[in-house]
């Protein structure tokens, strides 16, 4: 433990988690990419969804601590000094942030997929027109999106709150 080398850390985590390491890394990277892509697509943060994701994040943080306690055959009640509280905060924080990002991205993309399906089903003529005139499709989708948003009560976005 005398020094910390990134490759040694990678080797240690690989031995610790096996294939699960790659699943976890893929989930983390996938979650972050989906989150950023969603923001780029929606061009704003949806406050209600964020709050819900953060609430799920609290549960995720708590579950991380339970998992940590289980795999280390101990509990955070064993904390004896500042370094312990730091580790507890780190584990809870990682669970919270991870769950929030993945929860927000998953909920957002579900809405996006639902909108896509609604747009195709509800307005075949628009879609047909769109095939002929690409700029109109953009406009038509925006209208449908706005309607769907109103129907779901999601139009109180952070961007409109100030």
């Amino acid at each position: 433990m005398k020094e910390l080398d990134p490759m040694i850390l990678l080797a240690v985590f690989q031995e610790m988690l096996g294939a699960l390491l790659w699943v976890l890394l893929a989930t983390a990277v996938g979650g972050i990419v989906a989150f950023i892509a969603l923001i780029v697509r929606e061009r704003r943060i949806v406050s209600r969804r964020l709050v819900r994701a953060e609430l799920a994040g609290l549960v995720g943080g708590a579950l991380s601590l339970v998992l940590m306690a289980k795999v280390s055959s101990s509990g955070f009640t064993d904390a004896g000094g500042p370094a312990d509280w730091f580790l507890i905060a780190l584990v809870f924080g990682a669970g919270l942030v991870g769950t929030t990002i993945i929860g927000y991205a998953a909920a957002g993309w579900l809405v996006q997929l639902a909108r896509g399906a609604t747009a195709t089903q509800a307005s075949p003529p628009v879609a047909n027109r769109a095939a002929a005139m690409p700029p109109a499709q953009e406009h038509g989708n925006t209208v449908v999106t706005a309607m769907a948003r109103r129907a779901k009560g999601e139009d109180r976005t952070v961007a409109t709150e100030h």
Binding site: M7, E15, A37
Partner: protein, 451 residues
């Protein structure tokens, strides 16, 4: 505080850049690839071409780690590892097995799964070391010549030196012995669990020889104390620790800390008492003391046998000829580079090395790269500057869920890895987490030459 308009601006900036989804994904993939490739490229060193014959005696932690590093560094060398045992033991985990935290399977794996490609494994025991003839002879009489020899045989648990000791009785009648084997550690847990239910006299000790992980006897006393407390039976028990000399731990500052903790936990301490004999049926242990032999009745005991170099090393010219390590036959190596003092093509690493301080997996982790670098330097005709300063570490469990991460060197200096974050003499959960979660993966990574 969330500033939404800033985000909107940022998103507009992102949007205005020519970054479509495909290039975004490609950028991400390139970044991930660079992350994986860069350190590997930096780490890869040119392999040294040689036809040298290298023999490694012993396929424990030190032998396998050395094999991994040598096979990585050399091209064309003939590397032979000699060990009769097919089972590989993760010895730092024995305490956890005997504490009821892990099953016996946690510490047991196979030598074959760690053996690097291109290394020949001779499944025999070395019966004779002949450094003057540059060869070793196995039990079947096969002579194996070498240009370089790494001795990593480990040590011998000398239970026979305790009069009346019978290892078959471990786990019965309050007789425990954590070091014996995975099964022995598990049997010791059963004996401890019964004791924690009933209470009585618990006796702890350490031998008067050099020993592997000198913190383990202390850890186990703390663990027993904690199990008794958790079951509400601490008041029914008397715990006694008999130290072999005048200290509880060879590093003075650690000794003082443990002394204070033992006092706080009500563990009675005696000094200069060494286990000489045991009567497992009557549950009586006999200790030598400055006042003469003392008989001590017990309800639970953790027997730790004297430890010595294996017979083949003790009977060879490789042993120390005089000084503190001569009696038990430890190898006469230079403490700074693990090279034999009289046979420069021979190295001794791990438990068998006659050097002060730790016989631990942490010692192995820092000894092996130094010895290997000096061996490679000899092949390449250069000199090596690599130095081993005696670093070792001991996650000293002080109760279930907490440990002190004690790290030190030859000179009794504390050498904390995380100064200002993980205090070496503080009982911390984070140190326990390292012991239970990170230590075994680090150990296995070391065996594979990756850490």
């Amino acid at each position: 505080m969330f500033r939404p308009h800033h985000d909107t601006e940022l998103l507009h900036q992102v949007e205005s850049r020519p970054l479509d989804r495909r290039s975004f994904l490609m950028l991400g993939a390139a970044g991930a690839g660079a992350l994986l490739l860069l350190p590997r490229a930096a780490q890869a060193r040119e392999r040294l071409r040689t036809r040298a014959r290298i023999v490694i005696a012993g396929a424990g932690a030190a032998g396998l780690a050395a094999a991994a590093q040598l096979s990585e560094a050399l091209d064309g060398a003939q590397i032979t590892i000699i060990d009769a045992r097919r089972e590989h033991l993760y010895q730092p985990g024995f305490t956890l097995v005997a504490a009821g935290i892990k099953p016996a399977a946690y510490v047991s794996s196979t030598t074959a799964e760690y053996l690097p490609q291109g290394v020949e494994w001779l499944e025999e025991r070395v019966a004779e070391f002949d450094p003057d003839g540059n060869r070793v002879v196995t039990e079947s009489g096969k002579a194996v010549g070498y240009d370089f020899l790494i001795v990593a045989t480990g040590l011998k648990l000398d239970y026979d030196a305790i009069d009346g000791m019978d290892t078959r009785l471990i786990g019965t009648n309050g007789l425990g012995s954590v070091y014996h084997s995975p099964a022995g550690a598990e049997a010791t847990w059963r004996a401890l669990s019964e004791f924690a239910d009933r209470g009585g006299v618990g006796v702890f000790l350490r031998p008067a020889t050099e020993m592997k992980c000198a913190g383990a006897p202390l850890k186990y006393a703390f663990i027993v104390d904690d199990h008794l407390r958790r079951r509400g039976n601490r008041g029914k028990a008397e715990l006694i620790y008999n130290a072999n000399n005048k200290v509880l731990f060879s590093v003075p500052i650690v000794h003082e800390k443990v002394r204070m903790l033992f006092r706080e936990r009500g563990i009675r301490t005696h000094y200069d008492r060494v286990l000489q004999a045991i009567d497992p049926r009557r549950r009586v242990a006999t200790f030598s003391s400055p006042e003469g032999p003392l008989e001590l009745g017990y309800d639970f005991i953790n027997v730790i046998p004297p430890m010595r170099a294996p017979d083949a090393v003790r009977a060879s010219p490789l042993r120390w000829q005089d000084g503190p390590w001569a009696h038990d036959g430890w190898m006469e190596v230079d403490r700074a580079n693990l090279r034999h003092k009289r046979y420069p093509n021979v190295f001794g690493v791990g438990d068998v090395a006659g050097v002060p301080k730790g016989k631990t997996a942490a010692s192995v982790k820092w000894q092996v790269p130094v010895a290997v670098d000096h061996l490679l330097a000899s092949i390449a005709g250069r000199t090596s500057e690599a130095v081993y300063d005696g670093y070792t570490s001991c996650p000293l469990i002080t109760r279930l869920g907490r440990a002190m991460l004690v790290e030190f060197d030859y000179h009794d200096n504390l050498t904390p890895s995380f100064p200002g974050v993980i205090a070496p003499l503080e009982e911390l959960w984070v140190s326990w987490v390292m012991k239970t979660m990170a230590l075994k993966p680090t150990y296995v990574a070391m065996l594979r030459g990756r850490a």
